[in-house]
Amino acid sequence: MDRVSRRQFTLMAGATLATRELAQGAQATLTAGEVVNRIKKNLGIPWNGSTYRDTFKIGGPDSPVKGIATSFGGNLRVLQLAQKADLNMVIVHEPTFYSDADRLDLVKDDPLYKRKLDWANRNKIVVWRIHDHWHAHKPDGISTGWNKGMGWTQYQLEGSLRDFKIPETTLGKLAKYVAQKLETKSVRVIGDPSTRVSLVSRGGHNLTQNMDGLRRADCIVVSETREYDSFEYARDTVLSGAAKGAIFISHASGEDLGMKEFAEWVKPFVPEVAVQFIPTTDEFWTV
């Protein structure tokens, strides 16, 4: 202290104070609503105001934002990790409260709902969802992120984000690659593991998409679809003698990386705070 002159000290203190004021000022001005406005502005497509999905689930536009986390799901575990990392705005692709529309009438008396909401409010967590508009973004942000993460961008067929011509392999090897790359333990496969595959299509949640995919490709990779229709259709495809296969992955495994892409996309136009992807990952394991 005695080696610093009074004048120098005053200057330093002033500078520190100014920096802090600047920082606090910036934090006070960045609200969740402002983040959402910038997202809407940068999307490059008209905002569909009637979406029930892409809305605030916890907190609202006035909630102050200290940092942003992005993830597939509004899982409590993800919110907890975000809170620890001081990222209090969590932008998710999927529901927070156990139904697609986050219908509160289904959970208002539910003890888990209350506990999650109370914890989030106490910790000033704000959750906003972007589903429809991130898919509608050109190119589809979810597919783009997944393709990058899989290392398949180079194999995309012209004009498609969901059809690939990969170096020829077998269904069994491809299933293992998918499991390793996406860090998932719940991969399920239909077809002979030795079936040769090169044309791969992503398929979809609905039977129609998987019928189309299996007609076009040697193999479909599908994130969450129904067993009673798509699994049985894939089974019959193989039983009909077609040398094809189907790889079924968890919903999170098929879309999580799309929210990693979202974090990268948001960063340039929200420079004031940290923006970080927190993987939801597949929580299933097997024995």
Binding site: F72, G73, G74, N75, L76, R77, Q80, E94, P95, Y98, S99, D100, L106, V107, D110, L112, R115, K116, G172, A175, K176, A179, S186, V187, R188, V189, I190, P193, N206, L207, T208, M211, L214, R215, E224, R226, E227, Y228, D229, S230, F231, E232, Y233, A234, R235, D236, T237, L239, S240, A242, F248, S250, H251, A252, E283, F284, W285, T286, V287
Partner: protein, 293 residues
Amino acid sequence: MAITAQDIVDRIQKTVGTGWKDSPVDTFLAGNRDSEVKGVATTFAPSLEVLRKAVASGKNMIVSRESPFWARAAAQIRPGTGAINAGPEAGGAGRGPASMDSDPVYRAKRDYIAENQLIVYRCVQNWDARRQDPQLLALAKAMGWEKFYKPSGGQPWAANNGFFAIPPATLKQTAQNIKRSLNMKCIRVAGDPDIRVTKAALSHGMYWLADLQGLLAEPGVDLLVMGEPQWENELCLYNFDLQAAGQKKGLIVLGQEVSEEPGCGEMAAWLKSFVPEVPVEWIPAGEPSWMPS
């Protein structure tokens, strides 16, 4: 005297015991209902393999839980026969194309059914509506859990009353036991493998949020053993959140076929009791998928 498919359905309707309710699900999906039946096969899904086995053993009527043409709404197979967007109460939303005529797998299956003059009748909703849920009872028997049954008052073996005081073990050990008893390939488990589970809630087929909430409202339930979630990102999220909230509750997902197939065996036994004229056999479809090691 020859027995027709319609005769058998008439007997099903009379015998089911809950008062038959007409349903867009429980209906003929292929073949001529007035044809003579030589034998009956019951199954979860009338896959090409199941159909071939039925033909090989001289059975021309299939009674199944699922449609031979995958889509739950009959309208997608035969336009005009049902609502495309039928809700879950009608067997699930329409999820397939408006017409399947251009699909090669559809045509192969349709032609196989026609060439072999097979009749496919779907029987789900009236069967499940029995006072004692035959699907639940059969699944519990297949797991060796019948002796652990601990109903929560009310009607024993009702669909929402599948509670079991199971031998205490870790979640992992319990999953291993279930996998073995059901001879499974694709068991999916969530929760800390080392937690001890002692009281299980068991369910079959598709489940929704209200099912989860109902089963978890039963005191002491620390394990849910379920068929297929109607969306992982909604329902499995619920279980993942329970775990993140520190509750030591496990989830085991069996899959649709694994959870429903034992009940199709139960249905064969039931049909035998009032269709003595022809052989009745359960032909399991088998688990459709496998897991990479």
